[in-house]
Structure formats: C-alpha cells, structure tokens
Assembly symmetry: C2
Homo-oligomer: 349 residues x 2
DNA sequence: TTTTAGCACTCTTTTGTTCTGAGTGCTAAG
DNA sequence: CTTAGCACTCAGAACAAAAGAGTGCTAAAA
C-alpha cells in the first residue's frame, strides 16, 4: 500500500516539524520545506488524505495536524534516515561515549547516566543474568574467627557475601564443607548435599548452618542471577517536555517506569535487531501510552545481557536516540571484544 | 521568648491544618479546634500578632495564613508531639518494617523502597563506608586459566572483582603475588609493593599487570569505600503534592535530589540526634527551598554508615515521618544487634 | 483589659463574554 | 492536478463582572 512519494515527503516533514516544536503543524508552514515549492492548498489536500489514511489527526478543526501512532510507526520503519547513513555523527558520539565508559564494570549504571546527560532525556537500563552456573565456591575465614566470606564464581562473574556466626566455626570442618560443596557443584547435586552433611558432621551445628546459608545463596544466584533491578536515570528530564507539564501525566509515566518489569520482559523478548523501538501503546501499558522507548540490548558475557533505552514522549527524536544507542552499542562491543592484558570486567552486582 | 500557651495552640492548629490541606487557613475554621471555643475575632487578633512575630504569612490579604519557615522550625522543636509519646504507633510500623527488612544486605535500597511505599513519599538513601581497611586479598583462578577473581575483605565487608588477562598467568607466580600482597597489607605498605614486584618477577609481565590492577582496586576501595551512590526512590510521588504540580518546580527539586552530594554531606555532619530535620532553606539549595528532609542515620558496621530520609514539601507531616524513621532505626538496631547463628550480612555493593 | 460581634474593604477566583487568529474545507479558476 | 480565495470553525486570549473568603478595625460586651 505504498504511499506516493510526495505524501511521504509531506508526512515526514510534518513529523519532523512536530518532533521539533511539539505543536500541531499547519499547511502553510510546510510550503517552504520543499525544493519545488508547493502551495498550501495542495498540502492541505494531501493532508486531508493522509488524515483519512490514519496518519494524521487534528486536535481540533482549527489547529494544524499531529502525527498519529501509525505515522510514527511508518516514520521509524521507512521514512526516517536510517542510522546507517549517519556514520559520522555516530562516530562522534561513540568517541565521546568511549571516553566515559571505561569498564564493563557497572556499565549499566554508568551508561544510563552518561546517555541521559548527553541526550538530556530519561534513560532506563537493566541487566539480567540467566542460567548462570555457579562453578566454584570459596569459603574464606576472616580474622575474628566467626565470620566467613563466601565467594561464588559463575562463568564470568564473582559474587560474594559475608556470613557471620555467633560461635566460632571449626576450621577443619569448614575445609571439608568447602570440598564437599565444590564437589557437589561439579556434580550438580547441591540440593542433596545438606542431608548428607547433617549426617556426617551433625555434631557441629554452626557448620551445618553455614552450609545451609551458603547453599541457599548458591540457589538464589542460580535462580535469580543479578536480581534484575531496573535503573531509571534522569526521570526529572521528562518534566521538561511539553507533554509532561501536567504533573499527573508525568507521575503516571514515572510510576510505570519504576514499577515495571516490562523492561525486563523487553530484554527477554528482544530479538536480533540492533535497535528496538516501542511506540506508545506498543509498550502495553496505558500509563505509557504517550511515550516511546528506544532501546538496545548488549551482551556483557554469555550469561549476562543488558538493555538500555531512552524514554520520551512519542514525538521524541527517534533519529537522535537511535544514533546514540547505536554509538553506545558500538562502544560496548569495542570495550568487550578487547580483553586487553588486564581488562577489568564486571563485578559483583 | 516563650510564646503564650494560647498562641502556641493556635499556631500548632494552623500548622497541622495546613499540613493536612495545603490551603491557607482562616480564622473561622479554627474556632472549632479548641475545648473552650474562641471566637474568630480573637483568633484573628492572635494571628496578626503571630504574623508580626514572623510565624505566619499571608499569600495575599484575603487568604488565610500560612506557616512560615520559623513556624515549622518551632513546630518540630517544641510544638509537635514528640515521637517518644508514640510508642504504640511506632511499634506497629516497626513490626511492619521488620517483616520486610530481612537482611542488612542491600538494606539501603530495600528500606528506601519500603518506606517510600509505606509513607507514599519520596525517600533518599545512601551508604558510605570510610576508613575501611582492606585486610585480606584472595586471588582465585577461574578454570579457563586466564581470569582471576580478586576478593578483598575489609572489616566486615567483601568486595570482589573479576580481572581477565589475555595470556594465561603463571600459577606459582600468582601464589607468590598473593602472599606478597597480604603481607604488604598487614604492614600497610601496599603502595611500595609494585616496584619490588617488578624487580623480583619482572619477567612475567602478565602477573605484573594483574598486581597493578589489584593494587589499584585495593586503593580504590580504601579511598572511596562504597562509591557513595545516592539512591532516590519514588520520585514520582512528589508529583502528587500540591506544591509540585508545577512541573518545573518538581523538576528542580528532582534535579537537586539526584545531582546532589548534599545527602552525603548530611551523613558526614549528622550528629547524634536520632532524627534530623532540615527545613527548606536549611537544605542549602535554592532548588530545595520549599522542601524538607527528615532523616536518620544508622550504622551498618563500624566503617559503614547509612542515611535514609523522607523528602517532601515543607508542609510535610513531620510527625508521621519521624515515626516511620524512628521505627526504622529501631528495626535496624534489632537486625544488627542480633548476630544470630548465621546472620546474613552485607555484601559487595 | 480582653473578647466578640459587625461591617467595610481587599483581593483572588470564578464565570461569562467577546475578540482574535490560525488553520481548515470548499469552490472555482488557472 | 494545482492554486487562489473566502467563508467557517474553534481554541485561547483578553477583558469584565460577580462571588467568596478572609481580613482589619471599631465599638460594644464581658
């Protein structure tokens, strides 16, 4: 159902104008926007057809037109100059980003801060590790004699936690426990370990309790990975936008952002496209119906994926957002693909 | 300069009324608020004196009166029913809190979420560890042969980080490095270690680099402690408040909250009072001049302090806020003072 | 001396009205 | 098919009047 070339041009101009000004655009203001000038009347005709097709709406009869959801969808799919043709700008952004993202460590957090301040928009980011397999456990005594640091190592991640016990713990029993735990890990039978420990060293209750706590921690790490926290950065920037001058509108959206596991879901669903774009109702929540989310996912390691994106009104500058995220993605790849001599990598959460 | 009893009563009534309604309160509406009824004219007289003394202001001549900064200060200092007389309510809140805060682990984050949702207000929290002394380092090889988990143990905290090296690292050299590092730690001379390592094992560049990275990490942990991140929870709740219906007002305050190291400063300054209250301009930032911050600090361990507080318009319900924070403080104390058999404790950041 | 009723006065808020301007849709001519 | 012209619509601004809330002051009552 291809749109004729001129309609596309007009629609594109309307959208970009609206993105810029947040104000309904009228036929007159468009006459200047073309090589061969067209009269406002002609544009009006086209506009009214575009309206019939569902690409434009008017807030009221004597306002200009405003792009509809369908228009934005079309815009990002077909009309927008693709990020591909933008290498120069992207390179510039990437350079700037690379200067600020030194380590994969804490990437999600840092990146959301940096991108939020570069774009002056709200960003949302999250990290999820799944299927992480704990491969090794270390029990490290601390000097006072009754606390233990427990360290788990998964494919490419360390997690640690401190446990304290009221009574001192018998050293040799802990050594045995450690061996047993690691053995159980390689054999994948951690869950059966506790009873047998109870049998073999039942006397020493404190070791048993330590074992219990450690096993719970192992299971938790394997089950939940990284805790899946979602981080919203620069929420206040939404309040700069025309469409969120109304406090209760803004509040709704912010609630959606902070409450939502939707972001995690997107990470799960995210296909292979480099940049994902969810427009308005595609976000699947009435509170976010006037917002869009442009995001990208990236791999931190084989078990850990990250997602980061920009949230803004539907009339956001998709082009710029894509550029930034593309640049980010490149910067990460470069950061990751370069296990330099001592590359610092992720940490505990 | 004690205020006569009746003036105090009237002022208190005005403040509490205003806290409740956010609307200037007039003389008439107060006549009902006393045991022995007083006429509105009398109240008007008192009010106008209170105004002269600087406790009341009027937005304009035919509105009621609004408490001034001085009034709030007086209120929290003298007028407000002290939290002490509230044990029943506090107990109830504490019970609820205890149900939700199981571990010191991640306390700052969890607590801010829980308190924000209980009070329906914005909370700010932060953790700072200072003077932490790294006492032990473990270098744990992971199976692939060229990555190392490095674990630091301070007084009561574990921190870990993964380092990768491109080439495999010689095991025995690492063992030596580990010994050297721990020795240097006990002797407090980590900073002198690197050159001597370079001398003794200069051949093996990868070990040298690992050493370098680990030492940097040690220094970073000792210097910066926990990274001092400030966490703001429930920012959107500000947008429910009358005084932040204006988006740009709200934006300013939110900017202040997320940008600010002021919270950290407060933690540093915080004296021994159980609850701190900063009203309006006391926050020392024009962006926060119409807000107040009620906060409390707590010890996670001897090197780690936390702060958590509630942010709201100056006409916030100080009483309730204090009750919640007092309850929180009690809950934490109970959590901490109870190093049960296996008490789970804090983690890496 | 203190309290209170009464009343004039002030100033915001609300409501209603008119006016203006932007932008459209339609018609008829190019 | 495009464009000029024009009547029409409607939101928002500007203005005016009315309503309402609350005060300050005065003079009488306690």
């Amino acid at each position: 159902m291809g749109l004729q070339e001129r309609k596309r041009q007009i629609l594109k101009a309307i959208i970009e104008n609206y993105i810029d000004t947040a104000e309904p655009v009228g036929s007159k203001s468009l006459t200047v926007a073309f090589d061969r000038p067209i009269s406002s009347a002609t544009i009006r005709n086209e506009m009214s057809e575009l309206e019939e097709m569902g690409y434009l709406e008017k807030p009221h009869v004597s306002a200009g037109r405003v792009p509809s959801y369908a228009a934005y969808r079309l815009y990002v799919n077909e009309l927008m100059d693709s990020a591909a043709g933008l290498t120069a700008e992207i390179d510039a952004i990437r350079m700037e980003l690379e200067g600020k993202l030194h380590e994969l460590d804490d990437l999600a957090y840092t990146a959301s801060r940096v991108i939020s301040s570069m774009t002056n928009q709200t960003t949302v980011s999250a990290v999820k590790s799944s299927g992480a397999k704990v491969q090794k456990v270390e029990l490290i005594p601390t000097d006072n004699g009754h606390s233990y640091a427990v360290v788990l190592i998964t494919a490419s991640e360390v997690k640690s936690k401190m446990f304290r016990s009221y009574e001192p713990i018998d050293q040799s029993a802990v050594a045995m426990l450690s061996t047993a735990l690691n053995l159980a890990l390689t054999e994948n039978r951690v869950e059966y370990l506790l009873p047998s420990i109870a049998r073999s060293m039942g006397a020493d209750a404190s070791v048993f309790r330590l074992a219990d706590a450690v096993i719970k921690f192992i299971e938790e790490v394997e089950r939940e990975g990284d805790g899946n926290k979602v981080h919203v950065e620069g929420a206040e920037k939404l309040l700069n936008m025309r469409e969120y001058q109304d406090a209760s509108k803004a509040r709704e959206l912010m609630e959606y952002l902070s409450d939502s596991e939707k972001v995690m879901d997107m990470l799960d669903e995210a296909g292979d496209e480099p940049i994902g774009i969810k427009i308005g109702s595609e976000l699947g929540d009435p509170r976010a119906k006037d917002a869009s989310f442009v995001f990208t996912t990236y791999d931190i390691d084989s078990h850990t994926k990250g997602i980061i994106g920009i949230v803004a009104p539907t009339r956001m500058d998709y082009h710029r957002a894509c550029a930034h995220l593309t640049a980010f993605k490149q910067a990460v790849r470069q950061l990751g693909s370069h296990p330099t001599d001592i590359g610092e990598n992720d940490e505990h959460r």
